[in-house]
C-alpha cells in the first residue's frame, strides 16, 4: 500500500463532498457567464441606454449577484476544507510532509477547478441561448431581435473563474499553512462565540438602516431640490450604514435572549439559543449575506411590476383608448375613414372627439451641471414650442369643467407626472406669438390631469377661450394640430384594427412630420441661426410600418392602448429578462448558502445532539432545537431583507415624484406578492434543509 492508495481511498469515502464542490462551482460559473454572455450580447446592448438609470441598476444588481455567486462557491469550498480538516491534521501529526499534503490538496483543487470551469463555461452558451428562447416563447415575442452571443461575456466568465479559483486557493493556503496543527485537526469544531450584547443593539441597528437609506437616497434628492447641488457618487458609501444596521439587527436577533417576563420560555429555548451563540459569528455573517442577497433578488424582481403596473394602469385608466395627432397641413386619416375601417374590423367606436391645439413659443429653464456638483439654471424667454388648448374645447374632450380667465393657464399632467430638476409645473411665464413675436405674461393656475395629452417631449397647456381665439386668428396652419380621440368597445380585442389604423397613419404622414419627439421647430431655427448643431434635426425617422423603433422615436406615433402595451413590453422585455435572471441568480445563491449553513450546523452539533439524546431528550425535543435554529437562519434574513427592500423601494418611489402615484401603488402591491413568493421559496428550502439535517443527526 502506498500513500496514493490511502488518498484515493479517502477520496472515494468523501466523494460526495467533491461532487458538492464541483456542482457549486459549475453552477456559479454557469450563472455568471451565461448572464454576462446575454448582457453583453449585441442584441441586448443595442437596447440598453448607455448611461441610463436602468443600466446602472442592472450593473448594481449584477454586482450583488456576482458577490453572491462568489460567496456560495467559497462557502462550498470552506465546507470542503472543513470535511478535509481531520484527515489532513491526522496525516500531519503522523509526520506527513506539509509540502506533500499541499501538493495533493492543490492538485485536487486544480482538477476540480479546471473541470468545473470548462464545464461551466461551455454550458453557459447553450443555457443563455435556451433562456433567451424560453423567454421569447413565454413572455414576449421578440422575433425581430436575433440573438447574437456576446462573446465578450465569455471573457467575463473566465475572469470570474480565475477570481473564484484565486479565492479557493487562498482559502486552501490559509487552511494548510497554519502552524497550529490542533487548529487544523479541530477545524470542524471551530467556532467563534459572539459576546453578549446590550438590548439597545437591535434598535440602533434599525435606526442605522433607516438613516443609511435616507443618507444614501434621500440626501442627494434633497440636495438637488433645495441646494441645487448634485452629490458626488462617492456619497453612495453612506448606504454602508444600512448594511452595518442589518448586521446589528441580525446579531441582536441571534444572540439576544432576555430572561425577562417568561422565564419558563427562556429556559425552554436555552439550548438552541446557546447553540446559536456558539456558532454565532459565522452564522451572523452568513445571515447578513443572505439578507443582502434577498435584497438583491427582491430589488431585481421589483423592477418588473414597476414597469408593468405603469403600463397597465395607464392602459385601463386612460379615458381614451385611442388617440393620435397631426398638423392640420397633413393629409391624415379622416373620421369617415376611421369609421369604415372600424366597421371592417367589427369594432364599435364610441365617444369620438376631435380637438385642435395651437403651438406657441414658451419660456423655459435649462439646468446645467457644473463640474463642482453645483446646478445652475438658465432662464430663457423663448425656448421652444408648446401646444395650447382652449378651455371650452378641453372641457368638452376631457369631460371636466374648469374655468380660466384671460392670462391664466393650466398645465396638463398625467398619472405619473412629477416635477424634476428640468421641469416644474409652473415654469411657464411668458408666451410668444410666433407670427408677430408679441409676448404676453401668463399666470399659473393649477395642474389638470388628462393622460391622453401627455407625451414625452413637450408639455401641453390649457388657456382661456379669449386668449386662444386671439392667437388662432393670426397663426399659420403650420402651427395648428388636430387631436383625434375615441373609445372602442372591448378595447383588448381591437388589436387588428389598431394595427391597421396605425399603419395607415404612418403611410399618410409626410416627410416633414418624420421627426423625433424632442424635435422643436423654434429650437432648431435658433440653433441654426447661431451656427450650432441641432441634434434632433439630424435624427431621421424612417416612416415605415415595420419600423419597431417608431414607438420611442417618432413624435406623432399614435397612442393606441392595445398597441402601446405590446410596444412597451417589447421595449422592456430585454430589461425584464435581465432582471429576472439576476433574481434567479440571487435566489440560487440564497438556496445554496442557507442549505449549506444548515448542514454545517448539523455537523457542528451532531455530538451535542447525541449527548442530549443520552440525557434523555427525545427526538421531538431535538427536532425542536434544530427547528429553532434553522428557523432563525431562514426567517430573519427573509424578514430583514424584504422589509429593507420594500422600505427602500417605497423611498425611491416617493423620492421620484414626491408622492406615490396610483401605478406605483399598484406596483407596491404586486411587490408584496413577490415577497410572499420569495417567502414560500425560503420555506421550501427550509423544509429541504430540515430533512437533510434530520438525516445527519439521525433522528
Amino acid at each position: 500500500m502506498t500513500m496514493n492508495n490511502i488518498y484515493s481511498k479517502l477520496r472515494s469515502k468523501n466523494i460526495k463532498n467533491y461532487y458538492i464542490l464541483i456542482f457549486c462551482k459549475i453552477l456559479s460559473i454557469v450563472l455568471v457567464t451565461s448572464y454576462a454572455v446575454m448582457f453583453l450580447s449585441p442584441t441586448v446592448q443595442n437596447v440598453f441606454p448607455k448611461h441610463g438609470d436602468s443600466t446602472k441598476q442592472a450593473y448594481l444588481i449584477f454586482g450583488i449577484a456576482i458577490i453572491g455567486c462568489a460567496l456560495f462557491t467559497s462557502y462550498a469550498s470552506s465546507l470542503f476544507l472543513k470535511y478535509k480538516s481531520k484527515e489532513t491534521g491526522i496525516l500531519l501529526s503522523l509526520g506527513t510532509k506539509k509540502s506533500h499534503i499541499k501538493k495533493v490538496l492543490f492538485t485536487e483543487l486544480l482538477l476540480i477547478t479546471f473541470t468545473s470551469s470548462v464545464i461551466g463555461l461551455v454550458l453557459s452558451i447553450p443555457i443563455s441561448y435556451g433562456i433567451w428562447k424560453l423567454f421569447q416563447f413565454f413572455i414576449i415575442d421578440t422575433r425581430e431581435m436575433v440573438y447574437h452571443i456576446g462573446w465578450f461575456g465569455m471573457v467575463f466568465g473566465i475572469i470570474f473563474c480565475l477570481f473564484v479559483t484565486l479565492c479557493n486557493f487562498t482559502m486552501a493556503i490559509r487552511f494548510i499553512n497554519r502552524t497550529n496543527l490542533m487548529d487544523i485537526l479541530n477545524e470542524n469544531k471551530k467556532s467563534e462565540i459572539v459576546k453578549s450584547i446590550k438590548s439597545w443593539f437591535g434598535t440602533v441597528g434599525v435606526i442605522f438602516i433607516i438613516i443609511g437609506m435616507f443618507l444614501g437616497y434621500g440626501i442627494p434628492i434633497l440636495s438637488i431640490r433645495v441646494f441645487n447641488f448634485l452629490m458626488p457618487s462617492i456619497w453612495n458609501i453612506t448606504y454602508l450604514l444600512s448594511i452595518v444596521g442589518i448586521y446589528m439587527v441580525i446579531t441582536f436577533v441571534v444572540v439576544h435572549s432576555k430572561k425577562g417576563k417568561s422565564s419558563k420560555k427562556y429556559y425552554k429555548n436555552i439550548i438552541p439559543k446557546s447553540m446559536m451563540k456558539f456558532i454565532g459569528k459565522q452564522t451572523v455573517r452568513n445571515m447578513c449575506v443572505l439578507s443582502l442577497l434577498i435584497c438583491g433578488a427582491l430589488f431585481a424582481s421589483f423592477y418588473t411590476p414597476a414597469v408593468i403596473s405603469s403600463i397597465f394602469y395607464s392602459f385601463y385608466n386612460n379615458p381614451y383608448d385611442y388617440s393620435f395627432h397631426y398638423k392640420i397641413t397633413e393629409n391624415q386619416v379622416t373620421k369617415d375613414e376611421i369609421y369604415s375601417l372600424a366597421e371592417k374590423h367589427a369594432v364599435n367606436i364610441t365617444s369620438y372627439k376631435e380637438i385642435q391645439s395651437i403651438s406657441l413659443i414658451v419660456n423655459g429653464v435649462k439646468a446645467n451641471f457644473e463640474n463642482n456638483g453645483k446646478i445652475t439654471y438658465d432662464y430663457i424667454d423663448k425656448i421652444g414650442y408648446s401646444e395650447f388648448f382652449s378651455v371650452s374645447h378641453f372641457n368638452r374632450v376631457s369631460k371636466q369643467n374648469v374655468n380660466l380667465k384671460s392670462g391664466e393657464y393650466m398645465t396638463i399632467i398625467g398619472f405619473e407626472s412629477a416635477e424634476n430638476i428640468h421641469k416644474r409645473f409652473d415654469d411657464l411665464n411668458i408666451v410668444t406669438n410666433p407670427t408677430n413675436d408679441v409676448t404676453k405674461k401668463m399666470d399659473y393656475k393649477k395642474t389638470i390631469t388628462f393622460q391622453p395629452f401627455v407625451k414625452e417631449g413637450t408639455t401641453k397647456y390649457v388657456i382661456s377661450n379669449k386668449d386662444y381665439n386671439k392667437y388662432l386668428k393670426d397663426l399659420s396652419k403650420e402651427n395648428i394640430e388636430n387631436f383625434v380621440l375615441f373609445n372602442v368597445e372591448n378595447p383588448e380585442k381591437t388589436y387588428a384594427f389598431a394595427k391597421e389604423l396605425k399603419n395607415e397613419i404612418i403611410k399618410r404622414s409626410s416627410k416633414k412630420s418624420a421627426v423625433n419627439p424632442y424635435y422643436d421647430e423654434y429650437a432648431k431655427k435658433i440653433a441654426l441661426e447661431k451656427g450650432r448643431n441641432y441634434y434632433p434635426y439630424n435624427y431621421v425617422v424612417d416612416l415605415s410600418t415595420d419600423n419597431n423603433s417608431l414607438f420611442t422615436n417618432w413624435k406623432y406615433y399614435p397612442s393606441f392602448g392595445v398597441l402601446n402595451r405590446q410596444d412597451i413590453m417589447k421595449n422592456m422585455s430585454v430589461f425584464l429578462l435581465l432582471f429576472i435572471y439576476i433574481a434567479v441568480i440571487c435566489l440560487t445563491a440564497i438556496g445554496i448558502i442557507s442549505y449549506t449553513r444548515s448542514v454545517t450546523i448539523a455537523i457542528n452539533n451532531k455530538t451535542l445532539f447525541e449527548s442530549l439524546k443520552r440525557l434523555g431528550a427525545n427526538n421531538k425535543h431535538i427536532e425542536k432545537c434544530i427547528k429553532v435554529q434553522l428557523k432563525k437562519i431562514f426567517v430573519v434574513p427573509t424578514i430583514v431583507g424584504s422589509t429593507v427592500t420594500y422600505l427602500f423601494y417605497f423611498f425611491i418611489m416617493y423620492g421620484n415624484s414626491g408622492n406615490v402615484t396610483p401605478s406605483e401603488y399598484l406596483g407596491l402591491k404586486i411587490d408584496f406578492g413577490i415577497i410572499i413568493l420569495i417567502s414560500i421559496f425560503m420555506y421550501l428550502i427550509y423544509k429541504l434543509s430540515f430533512r437533510k439535517v434530520k438525516k445527519i443527526v439521525e433522528i
Partner: protein, 251 residues
C-alpha cells in the same frame, strides 16, 4: 533525552488570556518511563501537544536529544514526528475512511516502508493488543477501548524512541490497561524508548519510574519510584489526596 525548560503557553479566548502552562521545567532521560498526573484542566494535554509542537509554545525551550525542536523546519519536524515520535491522542484521532489495519499502517506508509515487513509488524501488534479480529473494520464500527488500542498500536508501529501518550488507558479495563502498559515497558526495555504518558490512573502510573504532578500549569511535585511498586502507589495516592478533588478515583 527530552528537556523542557521554562515552558509557557497561554490560550486567548474573547480577548482574555488564560495561562495554561507556566514555567514548566523537567528532564527525562533516555529509556525512562514517566507519567504526568494532575487534575483535569491542569494542562496535561497542552503540555503533550507543545512537546510534539502540534501547538506552538509561547516561550521556553524543548530539547530532543539536545537539539531544540522549536522553530525547526516543517519537513524536519515531519520527519521527527514520523520516525522518532509516537503520539497517542486523548481522543484517538483515527481516520474514519480507513480500516483499523490501515490506520495502524499509516506511519509506515507515510515513511514509504517496505510492504512485506510492514504487514507482518502490524499483524504482530494486532495480536499483541487483541484487535486482530477487528482489523478490517472501520473506526465507526468498533468500541472506544478498541479505538484506543488501535491508536496505541499506531503510535508504536515505527518503533519510536519517544512515546507521548495522552491517557492511553482511559477507556480500558484493567486487563487491557495492563497490555498497553506492558507494550510501553517492552518498548522501553527492547528499544530503550522514552515514554511520557498522561494518566489519571494511579495504578498505571505506579509502573513508571517517575511521576510529574501538574497543578494549574506548574510542576507541583516530582515523585520517584525509590523502592517497590506498591509503596510507590501509596505515595501517589497520598500526593493526589493532598491535591484534593480526585479522591474518588483512587479510593
Amino acid at each position: 533525552m527530552l528537556t523542557v525548560k521554562n515552558l509557557y503557553k497561554s490560550y486567548k479566548t474573547n480577548n482574555i488570556k488564560y495561562d495554561v502552562l507556566k514555567n514548566v521545567y523537567f528532564k527525562i532521560h533516555k529509556g525512562e518511563f514517566v507519567a504526568v498526573m494532575g487534575p483535569s484542566g491542569s494542562g496535561k494535554t497542552t503540555l503533550l501537544n507543545t512537546i510534539s509542537q502540534y501547538i506552538p509554545s509561547d516561550k521556553g525551550e524543548i530539547l530532543l536529544n539536545g537539539e531544540s525542536i522549536i522553530g525547526l523546519k516543517e519537513d524536519n519536524l515531519a520527519y521527527i514526528r514520523n520516525e522518532k515520535l509516537g503520539f497517542v491522542f486523548q481522543d484517538f484521532m483515527l481516520l474514519d475512511g480507513l480500516t483499523v489495519f490501515e490506520n495502524i499502517c499509516l506511519p509506515q506508509i507515510i515513511a514509504d516502508k517496505n510492504i512485506v515487513s510492514m504487514e507482518s509488524s502490524v499483524n504482530k501488534l494486532c495480536d499483541f493488543f487483541c484487535i486482530s479480529h477487528i482489523k478490517n473494520k472501520y473506526p465507526a464500527e468498533i468500541s472506544g477501548g478498541e479505538k484506543q488500542r488501535t491508536a496505541v498500536a499506531r503510535a508504536l508501529i515505527n518503533n519510536p524512541f519517544l512515546i507521548l501518550a495522552d491517557e492511553p488507558t482511559g477507556n480500558l479495563d484493567s486487563k487491557s490497561s495492563r497490555t498497553v502498559i506492558e507494550a510501553f515497558i517492552n518498548a522501553k526495555n527492547k528499544l530503550s524508548a522514552t515514554i511520557f504518558m498522561v494518566t489519571h490512573d494511579s495504578f498505571s502510573a505506579s509502573f513508571c519510574d517517575r511521576v510529574l504532578v501538574l497543578r494549574d500549569g506548574e510542576i507541583y511535585k516530582e515523585l520517584k519510584k525509590e523502592t517497590n511498586r506498591t509503596e510507590f502507589l501509596d505515595l501517589l495516592l497520598k500526593t493526589l489526596k493532598e491535591l484534593g478533588g480526585e479522591n474518588n478515583d483512587y479510593e
